[in-house]
Amino acid sequence: MVADIGVDSEDTICAETPEMRRIVIEFEKIHLNFYDRSVIKNLSLKINQGDKVVISGKSGCGKSSMLSLVLGFITPCEGKVFFNGAGVDEKTVWDVRKRIAYIDQDTSLGPGTVHDLLAFVSGLKINAHLNFAVDDLMKLFELKREIIQKNIKELSGGERQRLGIVIAVLLNRDVFFLDEITASLDKHLKRKVADFFLKRENWTCVIVSHDPVWTENSAVRVFDFEEKKWKH
């Protein structure tokens, strides 16, 4: 992810038609309860490679839980979650997490400095050209270079949000879980972030958001989580 990070750059065109694309994520008859409360009821959904899917629904209806099912942070009471054709279980989940970049509205980036966090991410050996990409990405998302030495807690909500996005992109993954990531951003940055992700055809993006900036794009499919059906 060193080159080609600009929002205006041309992406490679995916030669496959949607029908030909492989299924990246599949939810098969998922039921999820917390104590006596049913959070997800009979969810079946397939997300193909390169799909840009917005999950819509009321707050607290279980949209975000759906993402954590794939990450293995919760397991369904019934049904099965598949990632790249393999069931998500205690053995496969560690590889699944290495394939997905997750960002949420209130990502807890940790107690140290931005530099500490970037060094930690670097230590995970996920991107050999981390330093170069960091500068470019920070510039792209309008983060000042000086914040590197700052404590993460000193950053504003919007800065933390964009830093989370920078790190997610640095991870060099092609599946993105974007959970209300534009909530703390102004209109101009919302547009910039949405364009950045939506323009990359090979990236699979599962977006939980109420923000119209995502759904305005014709490439985006909207899944109504409460009705369990595609809106468009």
């Binding site: 839980s65 919760i74 997750y102 949420d104 990502t107």
Partner: protein, 287 residues
């Protein structure tokens, strides 16, 4: 040099000193009178009983009885250290017991075999006394270590899960909490060692001198016991955290809610906060 015995009447005079903390408690409304009374009574009764028990233990000096008594001491230490954390004792008793036993027994037998050295490494005067000394310190270290580790992990669960979501192994994600807990657990012991002889005259040294030994002998024993304490404390804290992690953290790397005494209530609160909180509850479901 003979140790001067203290008549029981004279010992009771020592209790008069307790008027001072009682007065302070009343003056400032500290509400410490009841806990102070309970602690003093428990301490006195326990020591009186153990005095009688040790007398016979030393007379019998049977290896099996000595090991059995050391085991009982470890069981009590495990209960005391786990009780201070929010984890259910039933879930981590065995891993914590193994940690304490390995840390204490290995150091005591090393001292008895190679340092002192004894013909009978199960000798009650050494096995029980040294074991008790080490266990007392391991207990203090583990109270801090276990509590800090799991409390920080719960408080910081959002960040922990974020690190897991980056693709970190659970060892990588847990390492900062592990480091902090072990460092905190060791800090009192290290501070005590650093000021020993200047600020503090430790209990064992005082006891050995009062028991009639020369200060030179007392100092040798004190150095030996301090090294043993730091080794057994760090070993027991590290092993307890490592062993209990296998029970408290599931195979997905997520902290199990059902190992905590207040797990349900806490999880209910988390439930209201969103998915990051929901995930903590994975432990309540069947895998």
């Amino acid at each position: 040099m003979e140790t001067l015995d203290i008549p029981v009447i004279s010992l009771s005079v020592a209790f008069l000193l307790l008027i001072i903390p009682v007065a302070i408690s009343f003056r400032y409304g500290l509400k410490l009178v009841t806990p102070l009374f309970v602690s003093v009574v428990r301490m006195s009764v326990q020591l009186a009983l153990i005095g009688v028990f040790l007398k016979y233990l030393f007379i019998w000096n049977n290896p099996f009885v000595n090991i059995a008594w050391l085991t009982i001491m470890i069981v009590v230490a495990v209960f005391a250290s786990v009780r201070s954390s929010s984890i259910k004792i039933s879930r981590i008793f065995i891993p914590a017991f193994i940690s304490f036993f390995v840390a204490t027994a290995s150091v005591v037998f090393y001292l008895n075999t190679f340092v002192i050295p004894l013909d009978n490494i199960f000798d009650a005067r050494y096995l029980i006394v040294l074991g008790g000394m080490l266990l007392g310190n391991s207990l203090r270290g583990n109270i801090v270590g276990i509590s800090t580790f799991y409390r920080q992990l719960k408080i910081d669960s959002n960040h922990y899960l974020y690190v897991l979501s980056l693709g970190a192994s659970h060892q990588e994600a847990l390492l900062p909490y592990f480091r902090e807990s072990v460092q905190l657990a060791l800090r009192p012991t290290l501070a005590s060692m650093a000021t020993m002889g200047i600020v503090t005259l430790p209990g064992m040294m005082t006891g050995v001198i009062l028991g009639g030994a020369s200060p030179e002998v007392a100092i040798k024993y004190q150095i030996l016991i301090m090294i043993a304490i730091v080794v057994s404390t760090i070993t027991s804290v590290v092993l307890t955290i490592l062993f209990t992690m296998r029970v408290c953290i599931d195979r997905f790397g997520v902290l199990r809610a059902d190992v905590f005494r207040s797990g349900k209530q806490v999880s209910d609160n988390w439930l209201l906060k969103g998915w990051r909180s929901l995930v903590i509850q994975s432990g309540i479901r069947k895998r």
